[in-house]
Amino acid sequence: MTAVGFVSSMFAHVVTHYSGWCKTKVYSYRGELAFTQGRMDEARMNFDKAMELDPTNPTPYVNAAMVILNSPQQQFQMPDTNLACSLLEKAISIDPQFSAAYVHLGQIRLGMATEIETAKTVIDLYEQGLANCRTAEEVKELCGMLALAKSQVAAAIQLGIEKFNMN
C-alpha cells in the first residue's frame, strides 16, 4: 500500500469510529490531501463536509476557495470567482485574523476589478488585514500586497487607464 493509500484508509477508519470535532478535522485533512494530489472534486467534497460539521472552522472555507480557483476549466470558462470570494469573506467573518484569506480575496478582487474605484477597495481590504495581523511574517506579506495594489492603481491613473479588467 502506498503512503497515500494508508492515509486514506486511516481517515476512513477515523470517520467511521469517531464523532464530532474529530470528523471535521479528518474531512479537512482529507480535503487537503486530495488537493495536493490534484483530486479537486474530492477535495471540494471533503471541505464542504468539514464546513457542514463545524461552521466555526475558517480553514475549509479558504481551502474550498482555492479548489475553485485551481480546478481545471474548460476553454473560455472562468472559475466561479464570485463563489470563491464569498467563501473567503465568510472565512474572514469567522476569523478576522486569517491573513491568508485577505491575501487571496484581494488577489481575486483585483483581478475582477473593472473600475479603478473597485480596485481601491482592495487597498482598504489589505489595510483591514494589516490591522489584524498577529505576526511579523503576516505583516510583510500583506504589506507587499498592499504596496503592489497601490502601485497598480497609481499606475493606472497615471496612464489614464479606466478599466483594469482584461475580459
Binding site: M1, H13, H17, W21, K25, R134, K140, A154, A155
Partner: protein, 392 residues
C-alpha cells in the same frame, strides 16, 4: 547656461571632468534642436512630434550619463506623456529610480509597464494563448517589492496590536492538551454561567468569590467565551495574590489557577507575564510536566525555538509519558522540517494514547511527506486491530 530651465540643477550636477562635460555638451545640442522644433510645432505636426520624442530620448540618455538624473527623469516623463509605450524611456526611468533607491516610484513604473503589456496582449489573454515575454521580468518586480516592504513594514509592525486568536484556534489549542476532557466534563456537569453569576452577586467575601470566579471561568471556556474566561481567571488570581490565605479555603488548586492564568495571558500575547506565571506555577509544583509544555508554547511564540525545545525535553524527563510534550514537540519538528523526528514523537504518543486523533492526523501527513509505505502498512494494521470507538 543653456535653457534647460533648471540652472541650479545644472550647476549642481556639472562636473569639471571632460568625460561628463562631453555628455552635457551633447545634451545642450539636443536642447537647441528642441527649441527649434518648439518654434515650428503645431498641433498637427506628427512628424515633428516624432523628432521631439527622439531628441528628448537622446537628451535624457546624455543627462543620465552626465549624472543629472532628475533631468533625465524629467525628459523621460515628457516622452511618456506623448508616447506611453516608448521602449527606452520607461526602462531608463526605472533604472534611475532604482539607482536613487526610490523604490515606491520604481514599483509604480513596473506596474505601469505591466498594465501596458497586458493591454497590448489582451487578445492572447482572452483566448488563453501563450503571451509574449513580459518587458520586465517577475524577478525584478519581486526585488523592488522587497525593498518597498522593508521601507513600509515598520510602520505596520509598530501599529500591530496583539489580539487574541479566533475562538476556533484557541479551542484547537485547548484540545491539544490531554487535560481537555477532564476540565470540560467538570465544567459541563457544573452550574451554568447564570447560576455562578447570581452566586457571585450574593457572595459575602472574597473567600467565597475565588472558587465561583474560577468555576465560572471554566464554564466560559467550555462555551468558548474566552474573553470572559480571561476576566474571571485574572480576577480570581488577583484576589488570591492580594490575600494568599484565600486559596486554602477556596478548594481551588493554586497551580491549576496559575496554569490557566498563564494560558490566558499567552492568548493575549502577554508573553513575559504568561511565562512568569507558568514558571511560578512550576516552582510550586515541579512535577507537573504540563506546565513546562505550556511554557514551551509561550517561548515558541516569542520566537525562541531552542528554549521551547529544551522545555519540552525537560517535560519528558519529569514525565517520560507526557503525551502533550510529545505532540507539541512533533509540531516543532515539523516546523523545523525534521519529519523523521516528528514521526518518532507521534508514534511514541500513539503508543500511549492510541485514540489521540490529533496525533493520528499529524502522523498521517508526516507519513505522506516521507512516503513511508512500510510504516504506513504497520500503522494501519495496528489501527484496524484496535477497538477504538471513542469520540472527542
Amino acid at each position: 547656461m543653456r535653457k534647460h530651465g533648471y540652472p541650479f540643477l545644472m550647476l549642481f550636477c556639472f562636473r569639471c571632468d571632460p568625460y561628463y562635460s562631453q555628455f552635457l555638451k551633447a545634451a545642450d545640442a539636443f536642447s537647441e534642436a528642441l527649441e527649434l522644433i518648439a518654434d515650428h510645432m503645431t498641433s498637427n505636426s506628427t512628424s515633428l512630434k516624432r523628432q521631439k520624442i527622439t531628441l528628448l530620448n537622446n537628451r535624457s540618455a546624455m543627462y543620465e550619463k552626465a549624472g543629472c538624473l532628475d533631468l533625465a527623469i524629467d525628459d523621460c516623463d515628457l516622452i511618456l506623456d506623448m508616447e506611453n509605450q516608448h521602449g527606452k524611456a520607461r526602462p531608463r526611468k526605472l533604472r534611475i529610480l532604482e539607482s536613487q533607491n526610490k523604490w515606491q516610484e520604481a514599483l509604480q513604473e513596473v506596474c505601469a509597464s505591466q498594465l501596458l503589456y497586458m493591454q497590448e496582449n489582451k487578445a492572447y489573454l482572452q483566448n488563453g494563448l501563450p503571451m509574449p515575454p513580459a518587458p520586465i521580468p517577475a524577478s525584478k518586480l519581486e526585488e523592488i517589492l522587497l525593498h518597498v516592504v522593508e521601507m513600509e513594514k515598520d510602520k505596520y509592525l509598530a501599529q500591530m496590536q496583539y489580539k487574541m486568536p479566533g475562538k476556533f484556534t484557541i479551542t484547537q489549542l485547548l484540545k491539544s492538551y490531554s487535560s481537555f476532557g477532564d476540565w470540560t466534563k467538570a465544567a459541563k456537569d457544573g452550574p451554568t454561567v447564570g447560576k455562578f453569576t447570581s452566586q457571585l452577586q450574593t457572595a459575602k467575601n472574597d473567600g467565597d468569590k475565588v472558587p465561583l470566579l474560577y468555576r465560572r471561568a471554566l464554564r466560559y471556556a467550555l462555551e468558548r467565551e474566552y474573553e470572559m474566561a480571561t476576566v474571571d481567571f485574572e480576577m480570581a488570581f488577583s484576589l488570591v495574590t492580594d490575600t494568599p490565605d484565600l486559596i486554602k479555603s477556596s478548594g481551588i488548586n493554586l497551580v491549576d489557577l496559575m496554569e490557566w492564568v498563564g494560558m490566558v495571558r499567552h492568548w493575549h500575547f502577554k508573553l513575559d507575564s504568561a511565562l512568569e506565571c507558568l514558571q511560578q506555577a512550576a516552582r510550586t509544583d515541579p512535577n507537573r510536566a504540563g506546565l513546562l509544555v505550556k511554557q514551551a508554547g509561550v517561548q515558541l511564540d516569542a520566537g525562541k525555538t531552542d528554549e521551547s525545545l529544551k522545555l519540552l525535553e525537560q517535560a519528558l524527563i519529569i514525565d517520560p509519558d507526557c503525551v502533550d510534550a510529545m505532540l507539541h514537540r512533533s509540531n516543532l519538528r515539523i516546523m523545523q522540517s525534521k519529519p523523521e523526528m516528528a514521526k518518532s514523537d507521534l508514534e511514541r504518543c500513539l503508543r500511549l494514547q492510541p485514540k489521540n486523533v490529533m496525533a493520528q492526523l499529524r502522523l498521517a501527513t508526516v507519513l505522506v511527506s516521507l512516503n513511508d509505505a512500510d510504516g504506513a502498512s504497520r500503522r494501519i494494521d495496528q489501527l484496524t486491530n484496535s477497538n477504538e470507538t471513542e469520540g472527542e
